[in-house]
């Protein structure tokens, strides 16, 4: 239902554009810049349109109820994601991982435009099937004598009817299946990895023809230099930085490209997923611990230069510090990207929430303007977060490998 109304909004928007085109003869004048800006403005709408298959049961009933109503465009608007709860549920849904890759959906006809992904479960041995068998959570799948149901992006073990039991907080109490599916995020990461390999292997090969890069390599080379000269070298030190460059460069470009792709209409949210940031932060954590020298451990467990009682007090604090550092990394990246996506979704929701106050046109205008503004900031944040993550990682590594010549 929500997607439905977004579609209508898009349609109306297209209509408005069309009218402008016809009346002002702007078709010729629409240059690339205008198109890019328009696309950018529209990104959030389409990315929001991804997710519709999981609603609360209550919401689902409501949507069916609404779908039965005869609706004009206006009514569709009015019946859209109206309440703050619906908006929250909607944006939460976008932020979550998914078992199929859906670009947009038409809920009136229950048609989803996208493709399904393989589900891999470790239950009674390896179970592999396509997520299309779930029919977006509508159907119960039976494999090896076990029934599975897709509910809110997670696969639960259930009975033949697909009953989901809830606790008092409306959380399912069914046992979750051990899920190693190639989800939307896994696929995105694979694609991003391939993009990175293609980009940087071509940059590397470019140097075979001469020391000066040509074409797109001219864009990539300064970034590599930036990571090396502004992040790794000053924080880790001239002597040791080389061996960490592989990780730092990979993590920088991985986060950056992922963040940027998260702003596209693909509607992926990889770096805003806690499992991904935990994994990245753990890499930093293990690299720091394994490359640390004697001084680092000494500073943690037996701080030099302070009295013995202080040493005993400081040790647990320092040990805690070992874990808070990567923890801050994972929370920072997760929170920033999640916040960015949420704010964009919230601003788009302004179309519905602000309609009473501003009217349809006004709320669309205000929402577009604010969303565009936030999206531009998000482009900055995408880089900033990649920079901060890499920067702090190299800072922690630098602290661990630092040569102390004092005391």
């Amino acid at each position: 239902m929500k997607t439905n109304s977004i579609f209508k909004l898009l349609f109306t928007f297209a209509q408005i554009l069309k009218t402008i085109n016809i009346h002002e003869g702007m078709i010729v004048k629409l240059n690339l810049k205008v198109l890019v800006v328009l696309m950018l403005t529209l990104l959030p709408f389409t990315s929001q349109a991804n997710d519709e298959q999981h609603h609360d049961t209550a919401q689902h009933e409501k949507s069916e109820h609404v779908a039965k109503k005869p609706h004009s465009e206006e009514e569709g608007f009015l019946e859209g994601v109206n309440t703050p709860e619906e908006i929250t549920a909607y944006s939460e849904h976008h932020l979550a991982d998914s078992h199929d890759f859906i670009f947009f959906s038409d809920e009136a006809s229950n048609h989803h435009y996208g493709f399904s992904l393989p589900v891999i479960l470790f239950e009674n041995g390896l179970t592999v099937f396509m997520s299309s068998e779930f029919d977006h959570g509508e159907k119960v799948v039976e494999k090896n004598g076990q029934h599975y149901k897709l509910y809110h992006g997670k696969i639960y073990k259930t009975d033949a009817q697909g009953t989901i039991h809830y606790d008092e907080h409306h959380h399912p109490t069914n046992e979750k299946a051990l899920d190693f599916s190639i989800t939307k995020n896994v696929l995105s990461i694979l694609v991003i990895s391939i993009i990175m390999l293609l980009l940087f292997v071509s940059l590397a090969n470019g140097y075979k023809n001469g020391p000066i890069p040509t074409g797109f390599a001219r864009v990539l080379e300064p970034l590599v230099l930036f990571v090396r000269d502004e992040i790794a070298r000053p924080n880790i030190g001239e002597k040791q930085y080389r061996k960490f460059m592989g990780f730092l460069l990979t993590v920088f470009f991985f986060i950056w490209i992922t963040n940027l792709l998260g702003l596209t209409p693909l509607g992926i949210n990889v770096t805003g997923n806690i499992a991904v940031t935990v994994c990245l932060a753990l890499f930093t954590f293990f690299i720091v611990q394994f490359s640390a020298n004697k001084d680092y451990w000494k500073h943690i467990f037996w701080m030099p230069g302070v009295p013995v009682p202080m040493k005993i007090v400081l040790a647990p604090i320092e040990v805690l510090g070992m874990f808070t550092k990567p923890f801050s990394l994972l929370i920072r990246l997760f929170a920033n990207i999640t916040a960015g996506h949420t704010v964009v979704m919230g601003l788009i929701a302004l179309i519905y929430t602000g309609k009473a106050m501003l009217g349809t046109g006004g709320s669309i205008g205000v929402s577009l303007l604010l969303t565009l503004f936030i999206n531009v900031i998000e482009i900055l944040v995408a880089f900033l977060q990649a920079y901060i993550f890499t920067m702090l990682s190299s800072l922690f590594i630098g602290m661990a490998v630092e040569e102390h010549d004092h005391h």
Binding site: L197, F247, C279
Partner: protein
Amino acid sequence: MDKLINDFSFGLFFWVAIIFVILIVLMRKFAWKPILEALNTREEGIANALEAAENAKKELEKLNSENERIIKEARAERDTMLKEAREIKDKIVADAKEEANEQAEIIITNAKGAIEVEKQAALAELKSQIAGISIDIAKKVIKRELSSEATQLELVEKSLKEVTLN
């Protein structure tokens, strides 16, 4: 926090870890290593080239100063040579003049001597001629005296007129 833990998908974590390890390994081998090496080589090349240029500049400066010194020396040498030449020339001219003067002196002295000799000879001849003429006159006078007094006198006068003391 509860929600975060609930959202944590171990499957996704597993895949991210695997993919990321593979990505780091592949990127290291096929991208970062050659890129960083190429960058290093280039930077070293640039540093070397700069150093070489600096050295060449210094070399050139050294060469220039050397050249200047040589030119200065050459100029000084030329000056001294010119000076010497001038001195020599002056000396030669002076010497020549002196010699010429001496020579002239000698010639003049010789000439004077010769003139003196000639003059003496001439005088001696004149004396002898005058003596001859005188004797002739005296002879004629004596002859006339023998004829008449008047003619004798006339003769003397006539003779005297004839005689030109050349």
